[in-house]
Subunit: 121 residues, 2 copies
Amino acid sequence: MHDPKAIAEAYLDVWNEADASRRSSKLERGWSPHAQYVDPMMQALDRDHINAMIETARGHFPGHAFALDGKPDGHSNFVRFSWILAAPSGPPVLRGTDVVRLARDGLIEDVIGFVDETHDG
Amino acid sequence: MHDPKAIAEAYLDVWNEADASRRSSKLERGWSPHAQYVDPMMQALDRDHINAMIETARGHFPGHAFALDGKPDGHSNFVRFSWILAAPSGPPVLRGTDVVRLARDGLIEDVIGFVDETHDG
């Protein structure tokens, strides 16, 4: 059994990494080469495209950061957690829940992302 | 794009079907032959085993029924919805959220189930 909290924190740390090269290293440590990501706005089919996708997504929310919301849970090779996206000391602009599937080696293989709440403008 | 509410309602209708043979017909209409199911308590690897698994699960909660909780959502080939399990006019004994992946033909291919709340005893 994997540690859902550790997986969720490492996952959000990748999203919060501003430097594309450091983010690439973090993806290499924690994600399968052919990892897949899909949410209502975006999808990407391998680690390099996921890195580029995160770069683009971060560009829409300059200075914002993702934080864990509530307690991650999981079973078998799945982890689920909710998150908040906000500017420093700002209110959440986005809340979501992600479901992560881990490969046998413990690397992230699949992410299915859902949006729980948007606070636009 | 599939109709998340229709998928969720058909899904819960399968769980609420007391008759194994009628449940098998409903599974054949809505689920892939090699559909997979996994939650924190159970897993099953094809439609027949899923039918048997539901029979066993229903045996733990005689007279109870599943009802949709909130609004199902979805994107690409995924649907997410929350549910409540309760006896007639009783309080919920279990709440959960399921993530369903549909095959290209619209049949359910994968279910990842999560428990949100238990109310034991």
